[in-house]
Point group: C2
Chain length 158, copies 2
């Protein structure tokens, strides 16, 4: 395994946030496009065992989104949020709620840092409103979806 492609998921020591770091063997423009193009995002976001459908997808500053993940058991998981700000090829700031826990909201910032040789480092920062909520998200099994999702994203980018 190429360790440069391993996903790091860490609890921030001072604020109730999760930090995610992942490198991709593709330029920022390609990684960015895979996060906003509705035909691409459904192909990689989340674990392989779930199928993603978009009910709303407005990837622009001030737009909203709503999507569903469904598994072979037919159980549906709904998510919604807003695109606070999109800076093409650089940064996406969005809100995120799992509808099964509607009181919880995370503020997520994704920054794309260009690296040599046309590579990209993705830096994710998911801010929760309490340390309890942050730890709950960290132990919710999110790592499965994040790690496997980025592996699927590698396949799309290659």
């Amino acid at each position: 395994m190429n360790t440069a492609l391993a996903t790091r998921i860490e609890a921030d020591p001072t604020v109730p946030a999760i930090r995610i770091t992942r490198e991709f063997d593709a330029p920022p423009s390609a990684v960015y496009r895979a996060h906003v193009d509705p035909e691409l995002v459904v192909q990689w976001l989340g674990p392989r065992r779930l199928t993603m459908t978009l009910q709303r997808w407005e990837p622009e500053t001030g737009g909203g989104y709503r999507y569903t993940h469904v598994g072979e058991d037919g159980v549906e998981h709904h998510f919604f949020g807003s695109f606070h700000e999109l800076r093409p090829d650089e940064r996406i700031v969005q809100t995120f709620t799992y509808a099964g826990f509607p009181e919880g909201v995370a503020l997520e910032t994704m920054t794309l840092v260009p690296l040599p040789d046309g590579r990209t480092r993705l830096e994710g920062f998911s801010l929760c409103d309490s340390f309890e909520a942050r730890d709950g998200m960290l132990h919710s099994g999110m790592d499965e979806g994040v790690v496997e999702g980025y592996e699927r994203l590698d396949e799309i980018l290659s």
Copy 2:
């Protein structure tokens, strides 16, 4: 001065957030409406010396907003964000950025608690991404706008 109508603005001790508490002599439905109705919000949000105009105002879950405050000196202050979730008469969750400091984003939750005699307690929670950003917001002069804004809101509600 009726101390029940005083605005409390406090730094949260454990997370990088500002907590605001204010009571209104009006029911939650009226306080809520004053936060979403575009013709009302421009009459009270912010200090009296500034005039507010809306460039975008979509008070619905997933909608966006953008507005300007301008003073007699003609200097314009721009703000934008998203309405993450609106629950009529109960709760508004939104993002907030002052365009003069575009890297900063706050995630703001306003909860309206019904009190006896048709009164309402507004509980605001503004979450920043670092303690430095929170302290910067706290010392930016925001208290002038919040305190005076809620006094103007009293006048609209009465």
